[in-house]
Amino acid sequence: MRTRQLLMAILAASILISSSWSQAETTDSEQPFTAPEGLQKLLSSVDDKGAAVIGEEGKAYFEGLPSHAKRLFGEAVANEYIGAATQLRDLLSLELNTSKLEAVLTNNCLLCHSNPAYQDSPTLFSLDPAAVKSPPYMDLKLLLNDVHMRHKLACAGCHGGDPTGNMAHEHPAEWPADHDERVADPKWVPQFCGRCHSDTKLMGQFNPSLPTDQLDKYKSSHHGRALLEGRNPRAAQCVSCHGVHGIQAANSPASSVYSKRIPATCGKCHGDPKVMAGVKVRDGSPIPTDQYEQYKTSVHGKALLERGDVGAPACNDCHGNHAAAPAEVSSVAQICRTCHARNGALFDGSRHKESFEENGWPECERCHGNHAISKTSDAMLETSKGSLCADCHDKYAGEKAATCKATAAHFHDTIVGMAEATVDFKEITLDLAERGLDIEPIDDERRNLDDALKQSRSQIHSFDRSDFDEVAKPGIETMDKMESLVEAAEQDYGQRRNGLLVAAGILALLSLTLWLKIRAMERDQRKS
């Protein structure tokens, strides 16, 4: 009995405490917010023409905010961190969620640097940096979507200072003190970013799968060596590719280093003769600046940029990214083999391997090119002047040239025969299908022919006639089989048509007889 009373008492006490707690909470959160005078003034500001600076949408967003967020706005205005109606309009127009809004409204750096009353360009953040003559990286929207901001690494993380306190602060020790010096020679940047990005323990707290060897790789790259050795202050460093404010994770389509955007990002410098001025390639000639334009026309470029196939290689897939370097002759073939493994293996076993090595030719690039790799064509195998195989063999194969060209001609004729048959049979099967004939067996064989054609085209890289013939043989047999199947289908259709003719003839004869019979009968009826 006593236990029961005790339990009842505890229960009653719990209810009382919880109800008073919830009452307190409710009171706090539901307490109506009254905008202080300063905030009220900004909210109702009008421009020169008498139009409201903050539109209905902005006001509605503000009204929909919880009281504590509204109060933060009020405090920011009272402390003069928000000092202009346009600044308030921009902040409201972002329609941030509550937690992000809290982060922004308690970040004095950000508020002060977006306040046109306190800042001039180029240190003013705005939704339209061009309009206020700030550099493009002073885009407020980009900054708020920055991957570092999302992980709570705000302004002070790089610039130093205390975002909740006094605005006066010193820059980090790694930064050169003078602004112009910082910009003119950014060799301090990789080391500065590497402060965090090379720290395995620190990075593990945010993204354990992210590598931490970027700085080491960078130091070994052509970019890194040129910058850090003081040869070229224009050489790319972290900021050149990743940006400053508004940095995104590499797998985000919005990132400047997302696979589809990499060619344009690299092309920004490598396509600009001014940036590339003075940079030379291995043989001492000036580095070309048409790689991006060439890449756009290539089979890889079209796949990536036009079809959106992110599996297609971009610049970094062949040249590396943080350790970017021009591919060595010896490594070009290995790079291509990462995707085109079978062709590489066939080439390794071919007689071309040795002669390419003797001449110091990069293997794949020799025939297919580099940045402007075009879709391979069966015409490459032709023996006429101007075609790839013929020209090369005429020039280098000496007395073997005739045999080599005969082999190329054999490859060409066999493959073109199969390719043409694939197209022809496709049209034939469509026609047969429209006539209601059974095309299933022909379609099956067509698929076999397709496979044989692909295998044969690849087998060319063995440059061996007997190996090639062995692979091409099923294709040639398939063509014969398809021809007989088409012939049988045509015969079937012929029989159908003949059958129809006979049936229609009999029916017509019957109809005619019947018609004559009716006429004769009705004539007799009329007579009688």
Binding site: L500, L507, I518, M521
Partner: protein
């Protein structure tokens, strides 16, 4: 030969037991009226019956190989079309004959309507015929799903979905039709049962009554009873029927061999394509068979909500109302009941033809290369179809005036005004339809034309 004269042999044996002689006598004296209108209209019923018999024969042959089931429906039809000797021909004939049957049925129904053959004492013939029309549409709808291919699957999904808009019992009806919330193999099972058992049974009953009353009463003579002559049904008319059937069979054979998958017109093709995949997204531009296109288009013309109800609900109510009026025309047309011409109902027939023609053409997206994707393309379709319909109407009206001396055009003019205002001026189909309906009703009532149209006027 006298009906009472004793006969020897098998006939005599049968006659003695079953009394066949009176039947022979009846047939001997049965005549088909020859009157003011061409006799061609008398052959359409027989033609429809012929196509129906072809459907039964080819249907039974298909049934020997068709296996309903998730893993067998599509495969067995494919097997029929590719491996079974003459399977392709049987399937092609079955499909062609189905469409031709509905075509001849539609023409038969409209000729009956325009010639007022429904007038007493043939109300039951009209009613059973109307029922048979509904059954034929049911055959088409249920048979369409049986190949279980992509097109039929999604078309059935769209078609059955509209059923849920039937007021009150819509959802229940949807469940009954589909055998569940979605189109599944259960839907196919019940469609199959409907196609080969339920509908044929009902059809057999209705055809029996339809034919029985026709044989008992004879074919309807032209109105005014100006027919003095008659053609013996047997053998003259029966042999002509047979001749027509031979022509139909020849046409059917030629179409089936030369165009085995149909003419490729919207709602008239039956290429097998890919197997149904309920998980695949429905592709745009799916349309039902041509005889459902007008309802499909009418549903599209209705907004999502109207008069406090769902738009499709209102649409189906309107369609049901129109169908109901159509079914009871023999009782509405009191002038024809008295054996006099009723130009108002003749004009109603033409108005209905224009109404259906425009909606069907518009649903087929005539005038643009592919399914319209924006309002501008839809407007192009509406304009193009309006021009065609108006062109047809001009020819029809001239024929009516010059050949048949028709003088009453209020309803067909209203239908054409509706089409012109919508198609040529781009006004909303529904709004302009309502306005034209109200204006027509007011004009008819105010001018006393309702009575005039129904009772007066002279037609030849």
């Amino acid at each position: 030969m006298s009906a009472t004269a004793p006969r020897s042999g098998l006939f005599g044996w049968l006659d003695e037991r079953y009394g066949i002689s009176p039947l022979i006598e009846f047939l001997r004296h049965k005549e088909v009226p020859i009157g003011a209108h061409p006799m061609v209209w008398y052959y359409l019923g027989g033609m429809t019956l012929f196509f129906f018999v072809v459907q039964i024969i080819t249907g039974v042959l298909l049934l020997m190989y068709y296996q309903p089931g998730e893993a067998t429906s599509y495969e067995s039809i494919r097997y029929i079309a590719t491996k079974v000797p003459f399977g392709w021909l049987i399937r092609a004939i079955h499909c062609w004959s189905a469409h031709l049957m509905i075509m001849s049925l539609v023409v038969h129904m409209f000729s009956t309507m325009l010639l007022k053959a429904y007038r007493p004492p043939r109300e039951l013939t009209w009613l059973t015929g109307f029922g048979l029309f509904g059954i034929a549409l049911g055959f088409g709808f249920s048979g369409y799903l049986l190949p279980w291919n992509e097109l039929s699957y999604f078309a059935t999904a769209v078609g059955t979905d509209s059923v849920k808009s039937v007021p009150v019992i819509g959802h229940w009806l949807l469940l009954v039709m589909r055998g569940g919330e979605d189109v599944s193999i259960n839907t196919l099972y019940r469609f199959f049962a409907g196609h080969v058992v339920i509908l044929p049974l009902i059809c057999a009953g209705l055809i029996s009554v339809h034919l029985l009353v026709i044989q008992r009463q004879g074919m309807a003579p032209p109105i005014h009873g100006e027919t003095a002559r008659g053609m013996p049904f047997f053998p003259n008319f029966a042999l002509r029927d047979l001749l027509l059937w031979l022509v139909c069979l020849t046409t059917l054979a030629m179409l089936a061999v030369l165009l085995p998958y149909g003419p490729g017109l919207p709602g008239m093709e039956w290429e097998l394509g890919s197997k149904a995949n309920p998980l695949a997204p429905a592709y745009p531009g799916i349309k039902p068979e041509w005889y459902f296109l007008w309802i499909y288009q009418l549903l599209k013309e209705f907004p999502a909500h109207l008069l406090g109800m769902e738009g499709p609900e209102v649409c189906l109510l309107v369609v049901s109302l129109l169908m109901g009026v159509w079914a009871v025309i023999p009782w509405l047309d009191r002038t024809a009941q008295r054996g006099r011409h009723s130009p108002g109902f003749t004009d109603l027939g033409f108005a209905v033809i224009y109404f259906l023609t425009f909606l069907t053409l518009k649903a087929a997206d005539l005038g643009v290369a592919e399914t319209p994707t924006n309002d501008a393309e839809t407007a192009v379709v509406a304009t193009f179809c309006a021009y065609i319909t108006l062109g047809v109407a001009v020819v029809a009206t001239l024929t009516r005036v010059l050949v048949y001396h028709h003088r009453w055009f209020v309803l067909s003019a209203a239908a054409l005004a509706h089409i012109a205002l919508h198609g040529l001026l781009g006004w909303s189909y529904l709004t302009v339809g309502a306005v034209v309906a109200v204006v027509t009703a007011v004009v008819l009532v105010a001018s006393g034309q309702l009575r005039t149209g129904a009772e007066a006027g002279v037609e030849s």
